[in-house]
């Protein structure tokens, strides 16, 4: 499997242009609202993709980190009166510590056993959030204050004067989410292109090969586990401030599955692919509403068919079609173990 988009294509500027075009083409607060959420979730899966797509370590509990970030922000700002920025940083730090502590033993597991362990971890966290109502508001959820920096409050319900123009809160939030996504992609790409990223990809390609050339693979697996958890935590915090109300459903197994599905659907190991995956999976419920009681069937069917006909994910398969002229790939028996 080769990298989906040859690094020669300047992906970041293209992404920036697309992000700029969205509010111009879809000048509507409803679409902006969805686009903002897509951007935040996309940034989350860009982080998850580092772990799953590049390092090949499947986590079925990532929603828990997302939810911990969201709840950390909600509780620190709501119950303890912190301002949002220190709150989300503190939440991310806590999540990083947690991921580091659990990651050390868990990441020694391989394949499905690792999936199983992360799934268990995620479910335990979901249960705690659900049960400790005194802190988290329990299953009925908890409201979250709007995001603010140094007293300047960013609410989707307000309007702002920027350089003499009136900007709606929805547009301002979309801009913030867009910048966050660009940053998330930039950092992820930097990491992938570095020796660290090469070591990570080698963990997926052949862990033994990486080890015999001196790569301390367990160290890198832990590192990327923590990084992707921090990605999820930060985006969870922003998501909480944006939607203004969160429930333990953010932490559930179903949400974890949704995140991993986005990665696989978009294309494992393809940063821009997983962004497309996020767009598709989050828009699908909105597009399928006309099917009413057939909605669930249609969703399952689309998911199945996409994966059957595009097993490597949307972007890698499509760009693969464009590059048919390349020499035939040889699958070696060395990949099977």
């Amino acid at each position: 499997m080769r990298l989906s988009v040859p690094s020669k294509i300047p992906g970041l500027p293209v992404l920036a242009i697309v992000l700029l075009l969205v509010p111009i083409v879809l000048n509507d607060e409803f679409y902006l609202d969805i686009a903002t959420q897509v951007a935040l979730i996309a940034a989350t899966v860009v982080g998850l993709n580092l772990l799953v797509g590049y390092a090949g370590q499947v986590s079925l509990g990532h929603a828990a980190f997302f939810a911990l970030g969201a709840y950390g922000s909600a509780i620190l700002t709501g119950t303890y009166g912190w301002t949002p920025v220190p709150a989300l940083l503190c939440a991310a730090l806590l999540v990083a510590t947690l991921a580091w502590l659990v990651g050390r033993p868990i990441l020694r597991l391989k394949g499905h056993y690792l999936s199983m362990a992360t799934l268990g971890l995620g479910i335990i966290i979901a249960i705690i959030i659900n049960n400790e109502g005194w802190l988290t508001g329990g299953p009925d959820g908890i409201p979250v204050a709007p995001f603010s920096v140094m007293g300047f409050e960013l609410s989707i319900f307000d309007e702002y004067q920027v350089l003499g123009m009136t900007v709606s809160g929805a547009l301002a939030w979309y801009a913030l989410a867009g910048v966050l996504l660009l940053l998330a992609v930039w950092i992820a790409q930097n990491l992938i292109d570095s020796p660290i990223g090469r070591a990570l990809r080698a963990v997926r390609g052949s862990e033994v090969a990486a080890r015999v050339v001196g790569v301390d693979t367990s160290h890198y697996k832990l590192l990327i586990f923590v990084i992707s958890a921090v990605y999820a935590s930060l985006m969870g915090s922003f998501f909480a401030h944006y939607t203004g109300f969160i429930t333990p459903q953010l932490a559930t197994f179903e949400h974890s599955i949704e995140l991993i599905t986005i990665v696989v659907l978009g294309g494992m190991g393809s940063t821009y692919g997983v962004i497309i995956g996020a767009v598709l999976l989050l828009l699908l419920p909105q597009l399928l509403t006309d099917f009413h009681e057939y909605e669930m069937m249609m969703f399952g069917l689309i998911l199945m068919l996409t994966m059957i006909f595009m097993p490597r994910g949307l972007l890698p398969t499509l760009s693969g079609l464009l590059q048919r002229s390349w020499p035939r790939r040889v699958r070696s028996s060395g990949q099977e173990d």
Binding site: Q37, D140, G141, T243, F245, I246, E293
Partner: protein, 386 residues
């Protein structure tokens, strides 16, 4: 027909014509848009499914009868699957894209609370079908709700226990929003009824066996009765396990099981179970002077004929939400959101399935505790007691 009435009729017609021509009021065929987001699938489909069926059915009926203000109703509905984030997105879509005149939903407290800020921002009246007190307390000018609060259910049960001289009870509840909230309310108000909760057990919404929890309650010293606050299939399993363990103490359920389905699922194990429920389950047992009797009988008949399945309390919430909305629109004489909101707030003595609604600026639920009837299962059927 005499001259006088003919003249009066002509006058009325002229006035109407004049109004129609003069005002910028929308054309009479422009539908009134009712937006609904319910949890028709997922863990809360127990609530959302009958709600949606009721809404679909009555929008059709109302349209067959000529609509509201001479305009047809148009129902736009989405399924949030019980997810608060989806509920928020669909509420936003209803308000911004579909530009509905009234918002009905959500099915659960979580989905409702996620949508409240949007309704408030869009200044559109919203009628929730969820139980928790927090939805209407403190009052949000734009938010109303049709079910009695879970606190009322707890109070009704505890009052009956008090009457029977019970002072120590075991509590078992689901860990979903409905059960959690009910559990908290019960723990809070128990003391006022001189009742001590000595055992407090929970079960997951998808659990298949609760004998462990019930065994623990049974072995707790001095338990005189057991109260199960939960909805869905959980309470049916609790009831079956309860009979299976042969626990010889009174068992109370909450209104979360108030449907004939509970009798089917729990079977003979349900004998003797008491619960608070709206009049819907015992329409024929109501005294003839009860104003709810015809409403409840009508709804039950219509629903069961149309969908070939038994009515549940939850469908009743949707009936009330829709009819309160329609009533308010008629009172307001327009679909101006502010007027609808004010009309909703001033509704008095409106007879619904769940109870008789009398709203006030500080009460956006409008139900009295008496709207809960206490029922007991006897010989496989519901019996009204007291």
């Amino acid at each position: 027909m005499n001259k006088k009435s003919l003249l009066r009729g002509l006058a009325a017609v002229t006035t109407l014509l004049a109004l129609a021509l003069a005002g910028p009021a929308p054309a009479s065929d422009e539908p009134i848009r009712i937006g609904a987001f319910v949890s028709a699938t997922g863990p809360a489909s127990f609530l959302g499914d009958p709600e949606l069926k009721t809404l679909e059915m009555y929008v059709e009926r109302i349209n067959e009868q000529g609509g509201v203000l001479g305009r047809p109703l148009h129902l736009v509905h989405y399924d949030d699957g019980g997810s608060a984030s989806e509920a928020r997105n669909f509420a936003n879509r209803l308000l911004r894209r579909d530009r509905v005149d009234v918002l009905i939903g959500g099915s659960t407290t979580g989905t409702t609370l996620a949508a409240v800020p949007l309704a408030q921002r869009a200044r559109t009246p919203m009628i929730s079908m969820a139980g928790a007190l927090t939805i209407v307390e403190p009052v949000n000018p734009w938010v109303f709700k049709t079910p009695q609060s879970d606190r009322m259910a707890a109070e009704r049960v505890l009052a009956d226990m008090q009457d029977r001289g019970i002072t120590r009870i075991g509590l078992i509840s689901g860990t979903d929003g409905f059960g959690r909230s009910g559990r908290e309310q019960t723990l809070e108000v128990a003391e006022q009824f001189g009742i001590e909760v000595v055992a407090d057990q929970t079960y997951g919404p998808q659990d298949t066996d609760m004998t462990s929890q019930l065994t623990r309650i049974r072995t707790t010293e001095g338990v005189e009765a057991v109260f199960n606050f939960g909805f869905g299939q959980g309470p049916a399993i609790v009831t079956r396990n309860y009979a299976h363990l042969d626990i010889d103490l009174p068992l109370y359920q909450s209104h979360g099981v108030a449907s004939d389905r509970f009798l089917d699922l729990a079977g003979s194990a349900a004998e003797g179970v008491r619960l608070p429920a709206s009049a819907l389950l015992v329409p024929d047992a109501l005294p003839d002077e009860d104003p709810q009797k015809p409403v409840v009988q009508g709804y039950k008949q219509a629903y069961e004929a149309r969908w070939n399945t038994s009515v549940s309390t939850f469908g009743g919430y949707a009936y009330d939400a829709l009819h309160l909305a329609v009533h308010a629109i008629e009172q307001a004489g327009s679909t101006d959101p502010k007027a609808i909101r004010e009309a909703l707030e001033s509704i008095q003595g409106f007879v619904g399935v769940t109870g008789v609604f009398s709203m006030a600026p500080e009460d956006h639920n409008g139900l009295e505790p008496e709207s809960f009837r206490l029922l007991e299962v006897r010989d496989g059927g519901w019996v009204l007691i007291h």
